[in-house]
Assembly symmetry: D2
Homo-oligomer: 359 residues x 4
């Protein structure tokens, strides 16, 4: 069970909830967000209705849940969540492709890429200013100057910007520029960072840790959600397995599994999973066919000259071809289903917007 | 390098090839098939042309290869291989769905399932007579009587039969009935069995071992191919990873990777990977979009009452809906590409039939 | 619950047991061994005592078990099992090192190795006559002639012989020579082979499948046990993981875990796990310290010239040094514990020999 | 190749090195530490001697290396590194056990545990003030008050303190109290945090990421080393695999592998790997026998009442018994080898102390 307090709830009101839970023999845990306090209880046997919590002052809602990720769980939501992406959105039938270079290498290449991916149908621009790299001797991104380039290209192209943040101390600065803050696979369980970005109110693109179970993944999202920030996009990007012929193993089953478990949008990054550009389009189409709400794709005007991840970046033309195929598959499935496949199965519950919808 | 001898090559001709290879400092290995002898050499530095092997009596062809799976490799083939499936086929643009119950439970349920999957568009019937089960106390199939039921249902419906063989001593008997012999995931490296089925000349459906690398997988196919049997269908069915939310992790990337490496058809079993029927259609569509040549799907008239694998079997109606979606995705991709996507990329090489084509 | 019938139980007696179980709403499964019939029931709620099965004619014993591997489970045994190994034994405090070449390459190298490992303290000789190889072009062992060499070297050195069998059709022939039949990692779920070797009455060395869970492993042993053959040695040999710096990842935790779960002896193969000879002694010592009942080690007089697995084979001198360290660690632990560590913890239950002890 | 600059090297001197490398066609990368600048070059074909870098002003040393982790590599060190641990040390033959509760729960339990583990032979106290937890609703440690308790108990018992830091913003505060800063498995690739702790000059206990390859692990250490901090202790703690019978799979082979690759000390955490207290002593002994330089063990006065990780914590008495066995195994191996096993194999190179030794 999760109790969500109203934004202005007082300490006294919070204490009253904790006291009632304590008297019922439960062990409440508190998560303080910027705008909101969330109280969770592991023990659910009594059931929320027996405690009369809804009637207490300062309580916004009480969500019964048997899942450890109560806020992320589908069962506590009224329908799928839509996360805004500039003028577009992702989730609940809205499909979005976020494309761009692995790292921002300069203003010209960024602008060229942004224009090309926009014209091919992308909804947002990705580009790394701060890059996590396995080796300390590898190129780690241009840093702050790259943020300025991203802002300039957004102004020029209208594409919202998705970029990664690595350090709690950079969150405020990156959030000034980014439309969506990305948390990378290696930081999926950097809980300090999750809490910090949760507090910004910005949409978060959360990449699955390369060895995170789907439960770990949803609990990482729960860190952000419990801070009062419901705009989380989940991104499957491949997991580590014994098979090393490709860079990672894309867990395509995660797409329908997550759609069943959570109301949050689920997108796929075929680039990191494949690690080889010739395999990227097939994985992207697989993701679309499996029901993903979007894609995150590395694109570079000259992949062989890229300063990072060139081997898995698509050139502009190949990206255009991939987008054509993506539209074909989506269109075909929409025609046979008379609308979004996933939306269909949830339309009864989706009458109103999600509790955690950001718009 | 691989030297394929002509079907009637004499021992003297074989010896002459071995002698020439030995004089060149190479270590030839011999694989004797029912119809054919294949000689492989690991060392490839000299190059086949320098040895004049093509001119030797009894030599059918000399295939240069840097891959350890020389016969399975795309580089030694003139194009994608088509494997016959009764009146249909799989590979080189021909798409096939093989559907039916995990195990044959009786004549009525088998016939009912066969008719339904045929009417929904399936090309072949699957059904286990001999079942490998993790526990010795689990239902292990009806055995030989099930073979007779499969034959009867084929006569009734026209669907060719795909069924598994577990023991070298059963191969001849199962091959009397089966149109395609299936080798299960737990026997992918049962090399005695691979050699035995290779000798039957029947098409082989080879399922990937749950912890087999793609190289292991292709080398297992090579066991069959080196016996002179070129009709091998590769089947990705999920691998074992740390993620246990689903039964296995479908390695969707294996589809484009294998299509790049080998001329053999590649199909996908979404049922075993998912382990849960509600996830099967999404995985099936993903496989189609990724370029698979077919699907292997568990279907049962009453999944909840199935004696094995009920939790992952589709009922007849859901299977029908899945087939409609499969056709939609295939049709959409065919329209944008003006033909099969994979075939396009290989059409230049595919002028003639494959060296190992079975027809 | 598992019901073990007496060796001469009649079909009528068996039917009577099945009927009583059926009336109680249970679903009994039958496993027929050469000497014995075993009946297992998944449902255990009623409890064996309530059914009066012990009083039925032909019932040898009724073993309550909540584990799917009832016969392998520690809870159904009166103590740890000892498996005979020629004049030696393994299990229940008896420690054994089985050493020798990966494959038998000829009589001289085999005799030289056997003498050296015997003098260094090994209890048995390993050597492959039939070798499972990932590639069909690799050396697959000398076959039957190697069996004769193994028999000759046993006569000369007194060392019992452990050798692998790959094909159900070879079991009888290999069992004529072998003191212990080895089932390799790739055949751990070759259920036809497990049943066949179970019927020989010979001790079985069962290697863990490279992607087998410990439950899968114990269920594979259950296949042999349910055939009436209780002399199974379990061998951990490394599992497949994302880490490929070594050939496999030795699952050292499997040793104490299996010792807790089963009465069967547990040994470790450090050679295949390491895949590199310089790492073998450290893994061997780790296994001993973790409580293993023995080791299976590849040794070759000239590892660099070995026809298979040379990179992970110890030379004779290094093997001798390793054995000295093994004795030191075992001696030290025996001194502080006043006997075998594992035996200590089970001595209360181990008053009599195990139900399935082979002597 | 790695060029280590002298502590006071000027920007001009650094520029001169970069210029010479650039003229040779190499791509130098710079890592700036608190006390030191390190320059690395991927391309190593020319060889350092040909460039005359040693003669340049401001160059402390030039280390040829073919490994991506040049500073961590054994080949660039003169011998094994010793890391100080209060009055004790770890590495180069010095063995250390770091023990204590998962999280600091209060002053009394901490003091009781510290006294007990010290008396049983532990060299340092572990205890979490800030705890990374998979769920946002789980107990995340007492925070700063726990740091004060750790300092008080150190004053009382003399045991140095090892505690984890999660956030770059906490590093300075935690470093005031901790003798060793711990980086947890989920932060192994939190590169911002690695750089920050590298700058403190404090010894770092770096836990292997649960899906980190050994190369990833050494590159994470390289982040710290390249900041001029050579006092890194590597800790194997189990990796994620398909086997979930235990919490993680202890990669025991990592111990000898890392000892071969790096000069840094390698310790093992058997508690997190096992996830069950009855398996911990066997894993600890395995680690010692495999050559580990120390252990990190969770100990609690009343494990069943622990607020975190109780199921895998040893009680005080079991810890004492384990320590007795650890001493027995170490003593036995020392006797047969006449000193530390690993030290023996490196004594020729270990004439002087390591370049990166912290004392």
């Amino acid at each position: 069970m999760v109790i969500v307090m109203t934004p202005g709830a007082t300490e006294g009101e919070i204490e009253a909830v904790l006291a009632r839970l304590g008297r019922a023999g439960l062990e409440p845990r508190l998560s303080r967000g910027a705008a909101q306090v969330v109280i969770a209880c592991a023990g659910d046997e009594i059931g929320p209705s027996g405690l009369g919590l809804e009637a207490l002052s300062g309580v916004a809602s009480v969500l019964p849940s048997e899942k450890p990720y109560a806020l992320a769980s589908r069962e506590t939501a009224t329908g799928p969540t839509t996360v805004p992406l500039g003028a577009h959105a992702v989730g609940a039938g809205a499909f979005a492709v976020i494309a761009g270079p692995c790292s921002v290498e300069g203003p010209e290449m960024l602008l060229e890429t942004a224009r090309a991916v926009r014209d091919a149908g992308a909804s947002a621009l990705r580009g790394g200013a701060f890059k996590p790299r396995t080796s300390p001797y590898a190129f780690r991104g241009l840093g702050e100057p790259a943020l300025d380039m991203l802002a300039a290209v957004r102004a020029e192209t209208g594409l919202p910007v998705v970029t990664e943040v690595l350090d709690t101390r950079h969150v405020a600065r990156v959030a000034e520029v980014a439309d969506v803050l990305q948390i990378g696979t290696r930081n999926m369980q950097n809980f300090a960072l999750l809490s910090e970005v949760g507090g910004t109110g910005k949409p978060i693109l959360l990449k699955r840790g390369m060895s995170a179970t789907l439960e770990d993944f949803l609990l990482a999202a729960e860190y952000v959600l419990s801070r009062g920030n419901g705009a989380v996009i989940l991104c499957e990007r491949g997991i580590r397995t014994f098979e090393r012929a490709m860079r990672y193993t894309l867990d395509i089953g995660a797409v329908p599994y997550l759609k069943r478990e959570t109301h949050l949008p689920v997108i796929v990054d075929p680039s990191h999973a494949a690690g080889a550009r010739d395999l990227v389009p097939a994985l992207a189409l697989a993701a679309v066919a499996a029901g993903a709400d979007g894609l995150l794709v590395e694109v570079h005007p000259d992949p062989d000259a890229a300063r990072s991840d060139g081997e898995q970046s698509l050139d502009l033309e190949t990206f255009g071809g991939m987008m054509r195929d993506v539209r074909a598959v989506r269109g075909a499935l929409a025609r046979v289903h008379g609308g979004d496949r996933v939306q269909d199965t949830t339309s009864a519950k989706a009458a109103s917007s999600s509790e955690y919808r950001k718009t």
